[in-house]
């Protein structure tokens, strides 16, 4: 047992390491950041939602930094695109922290977090499940390569177009800025990195080549999550250093094991399992919102 100085509660060290290790394992297995599993897992452990969101961001910063070091060696980062996404992300996370603080004062933060997770987990879970089902049935899916035909999207018609040599694109700066802003806002409110929304958006919306997508999104996630940690520390004082250290330790070790075991397994089966897991987790969020509460009154503003 260790006492968390900011969350002001004792937690079992072993339990937190096991949970963060398991989340890291799953993220390494499937190749996702894992913030969107870590934050709800912490909430289920009894950590107050504001602390879970703000502290989870520090673990995302650690994971994305170790990822970006690998990607830089492979020259798989489009720095110019990453910079634009990050500028949008910086503004977005600042607005997200502001919204977070307002919701905390209004007593509606838990509701908004639950609703966003409900939509997010069920959406991603359903996508993963249907994708893996299609792969297992042997049907050819609409691959990324087909979609990368020189189709013009809105990104190609808007003004302020500049060249992105690394991605081989000549598009407007507005979509990357807007995309970065949206992801940054979500990241600050939900305690996620946002890579799993950012990556499809970069492929389908910006038409970036897949080989630079992961590295570039990691760059944006790193900048945004680092900023979220600093802003949340200053604005809401909900970052718990002791909890953060435990999450980093468990998450990093778990991710290494996950990545190694994931290399020898069938990808579509793992994704299908994770999809089912996410849908179950979203049902839990839905259940808590829909069933009539046993205790109709709640205490609010526990941290104020």
């Amino acid at each position: 047992m260790i006492y968390l100085p900011i969350a002001e509660m004792p937690v079992s060290v072993l339990l937190v390491l096991l949970v963060s290790g398991a989340v890291g394992f799953v993220s390494g297995l499937v190749g996702v950041g894992g913030g969107f599993i870590m934050t709800p897992a912490l909430i289920f452990l009894g950590v107050p939602a504001p602390v879970a969101v703000a502290t989870g961001a520090s673990q995302i910063a650690a994971t994305s930094f170790s990822g970006i070091m690998t990607q830089t060696r492979r020259k798989a980062v489009d720095w110019r695109m990453g910079l634009l996404l990050s500028i949008g992300g910086v503004a977005g996370s600042a607005s997200g922290v502001w919204i977070f603080e307002r919701l905390l004062r209004l007593g509606q933060l838990d509701l908004i977090i639950s609703l966003l997770y409900l939509v997010l987990l069920s959406g991603v879970g359903f996508l993963m499940l249907s994708e893996s089902y299609a792969l297992i049935r042997g049907r050819t899916t609409r691959g990324v390569s087909i979609l990368r035909r020189p189709a013009r999207t809105v990104a190609h018609t808007l003004p302020f177009r500049i060249a992105f040599p690394r991605s081989g694109l000549y598009i407007s700066v507005i979509p990357p800025l807007a995309l970065g802003f949206a992801i940054g806002t979500l990241a600050a409110i939900m305690g996620i990195g946002g890579g799993f929304i950012l990556i499809p958006a970069m492929i389908y919306l910006l038409r970036m080549p897949t080989n630079v997508v992961v590295g570039t999104s990691l760059f944006q996630v790193l900048i945004v999550s680092s900023l979220v940690v600093v802003l949340q520390s200053a604005a809401t004082r909900t970052v718990d250093l002791v909890l953060a250290a435990l999450l980093m330790l468990g998450g990093v070790i778990g991710a290494q094991f996950g990545a190694r075991i994931g290399a020898g397994l069938k990808n579509e089966q793992i994704r299908g399992l994770l999809g089912i897991l996410l849908i179950l987790a979203s049902l839990k969020f839905l259940w808590d919102l829909v069933i009539p509460p046993v205790e109709p009154y709640v205490l609010g503003g526990g941290l104020w």
Binding site: P5, S66, P296
Partner: protein, 261 residues
């Protein structure tokens, strides 16, 4: 009816406001606490507060009431309401003052020791110390919010009450010994706020307060817990940057190890 309730609530508020200082402490009851300093370190899992004293009456007449109070703070209570099939928090109702921790111990049920007016005057009940600060949503009952606050805090272990001899299986309660000696044990849960507390001891006879004593108890962080908390509150920007640097270091170490193997 609604107007009468509002008037009653107003009267109760005024009563609490006038008796806000449970200050008419006489400080003449011989009592002491075993732990005037409680420290919170990384292995903190809550603590116990032991108050002991002597009933000065030679024949042992009178009733002993011990109250351990945490600092009064604002509190918010919300009632869930159904919107589009979802249960969401309704408008927040604020309390300007509510004890953050409240444990009351007595040698027999409190209502047999003092009348309702004395209980309110000396704030021997957590509900007596909670001051409503905002109006409740339309159709809401102010006293229901007050009761809910007390009930929820009881469930969290932040409010406690013990009457009579403690049961053998639980630690916590008021024990009376021969010669007027008494000992009160209060379980301080880990979620109780870290602050200055007061242990107040009262002697009642025939429903009147005869003597009382107030003893301060300080709960404070020590060691690394204190450093982290001080840094997070006084230098929050530096604290945030430090957390990010720790994260970058952890990521860097992970990437190095990963490359080796």
């Amino acid at each position: 009816m609604k107007r009468a309730l509002a008037a009653l609530a107003f009267a109760l508020c005024c009563a609490t406001a006038s008796a806000q200082q449970p200050g008419d402490m006489l400080n003449d009851l011989p009592a002491a606490v075993a732990e005037e300093q409680i420290t919170v370190s990384s292995d903190y899992r809550g603590s116990y507060i032991t108050v002991f004293g002597v009933n000065p009456d030679r024949r042992g007449r009178g009733d002993i009431v011990v109250v351990v109070r945490g600092p009064s703070e604002g509190a918010v209570v919300m009632r869930k309401r159904r919107v589009f099939g979802l249960w969401i928090n309704g408008d927040p109702v604020e309390f300007a003052q509510a004890p953050s921790f409240f444990a009351v111990l007595s040698n027999r049920p409190l209502r047999q020791i003092a009348n309702a007016q004395s209980i309110w005057q000396y704030q021997l009940d957590p509900a007596a110390s909670a001051q409503l600060a905002s109006s409740v949503p339309a159709g809401g009952d102010p006293s229901a919010y007050r009761r809910a606050l007390v009930r929820l805090r009881y469930a969290q272990g932040l409010y406690q009450s013990y009457a009579g001899q403690p049961r053998p299986e639980q630690r916590g309660g008021l024990t009376m010994y021969q010669g007027g000696l008494f000992r009160a044990v209060v379980r301080l849960p880990a979620n109780a706020p870290i602050a200055r507390y007061n242990a107040d001891t009262y002697l009642f006879r025939d429903g009147r307060l005869i003597s009382s004593q107030r003893i301060p108890i300080t709960i404070s962080r020590v060691g690394i817990e204190r450093r982290i908390h001080d840094l997070a509150t006084t230098a929050s920007w530096a604290y945030g940057i430090m957390t990010v640097l720790l994260a970058l270091f952890a990521g860097w170490v992970a990437a190095l190890i990963f490359r080796r193997t």
